[in-house]
């Protein structure tokens, strides 16, 4: 699950993940999507850029 806030500055980024993922998968440039979402600082940008969703991989082992 995407963290609720940026680890470094505390900006709420939990609500941005789904739109970011959708637009990134549609072929948009990740950097431009982040600019568009208002994610300005590089601490918050890395939160979304480097996130990997592993919830679906965990499910069979519950």
């Amino acid at each position: 699950m995407i963290p609720v806030r940026c680890f470094t500055c505390g900006k709420v980024i939990g609500g941005l993940w789904e739109e970011y993922k959708e637009r990134r998968d549609a072929g948009e440039d990740p950097g431009e999507v982040l600019d568009d979402l208002g994610v300005e600082r590089y601490c918050c940008r890395r939160m979304l850029l480097t996130h990997l969703e592993i919830v679906d991989k965990f499910v069979p082992y519950q």
């Binding site: 699950m1 500055c9 505390g10 900006k11 939990g14 609500g15 789904e18």
Partner: protein, 264 residues
């Protein structure tokens, strides 16, 4: 010297303003007050009755705590200042979630016990419940300050710098300062080097080192500050500034009354 405030940018969650005519100590007091001392509501304790989601109870509790809640801080009192022993309706409120998968739980799915409290952002993903997974919890919302935990911090980002003044005393229009400046303070107009927005200057002194004539002087105004402030939506930026200034004033008044008692 009179205090002057010049607002450069003000939106619901962001403020950028110049405040001049005060000491560095006062400016820092304002900054620290906005970060540390303005109280707000946040989820503090969570009772889990059922949790078969992919996240542990502790992880979920942390995620819930970090969700920004919007409420008037005057509605509740701090737990330490409350007259009750172990929590009452004056110092705490509740929120709950009851769900069974497959469903995605968002911050808007929190059912608040008090209608005066709401989540600032509706779309924060809390947990993704898969087929057959259940979640049943009851959370306790308390008033707190940034001193205790970052979840009670109103200002996400809050900082200031002294207002820089850049001036050119000697120049042969070589343009090195234009190339070297990372903040684009200098600009070249018809072959002449000019100063553009020197408020963007970070005082890195790269231009001073690059200038062969030693013709650039950077000074900082010790009594003027450029504040940048960002909130997470629990409070608007303007409300936070006003609240912090009021708190500072009240503290100063209290200190004065204590000092007066000593002097008699």
């Amino acid at each position: 010297m009179a205090i002057e405030i010049n607002v450069i940018e003000l939106t619901e969650r962001y403020a950028k303003f110049i405040i001049s005519g005060l000491t560095p100590a006062s400016a820092n007091a304002l900054r620290r007050c906005m970060i540390n001392e303005v109280p707000r509501m946040a989820i503090d304790e969570v009772n889990f009755y059922e949790n078969t989601s992919v996240l542990f109870d502790e992880q979920l509790a942390l995620r819930l705590g970090l969700i920004p809640l919007r409420a008037d801080p005057g509605l509740y009192v701090l737990e330490d200042e409350c007259t009750c022993e172990d929590g009452c309706s004056l110092c705490q409120s509740t929120a709950s979630i009851s769900a069974e998968g497959p469903i995605k739980i968002y911050s808007s799915d929190l059912v608040m016990g008090d209608e005066n409290i709401s989540v600032a952002d509706d779309n924060i993903l809390i947990v993704d419940l898969k087929d057959g997974q259940k979640l049943l919890l009851n959370a306790i919302i308390k008033l707190g300050t940034g001193e205790m935990h970052a979840k009670w911090q109103n200002a996400v980002v809050c900082g200031y710098k002294n207002i820089p003044h850049v001036s050119i005393t000697d120049c042969n229009d070589c343009g090195r300062c234009v190339d070297v400046c990372p903040r684009d303070v200098f600009k070249c107009v018809d072959g002449r080097v000019m100063i553009g927005d020197d408020i963007n200057c970070s005082c890195c002194n790269l231009c001073v080192e690059a200038c062969e004539l030693d013709g650039i002087v950077i000074e900082e105004d010790p009594e003027a500050f450029l504040f940048k402030l960002e909130t997470d939506g629990g409070m608007t930026a303007s409300a936070l500034i006003v609240y912090a200034v009021r708190m500072l004033r009240d503290k100063a008044v209290r200190l004065k009354s204590v000092l007066e008692r000593f002097s008699h």
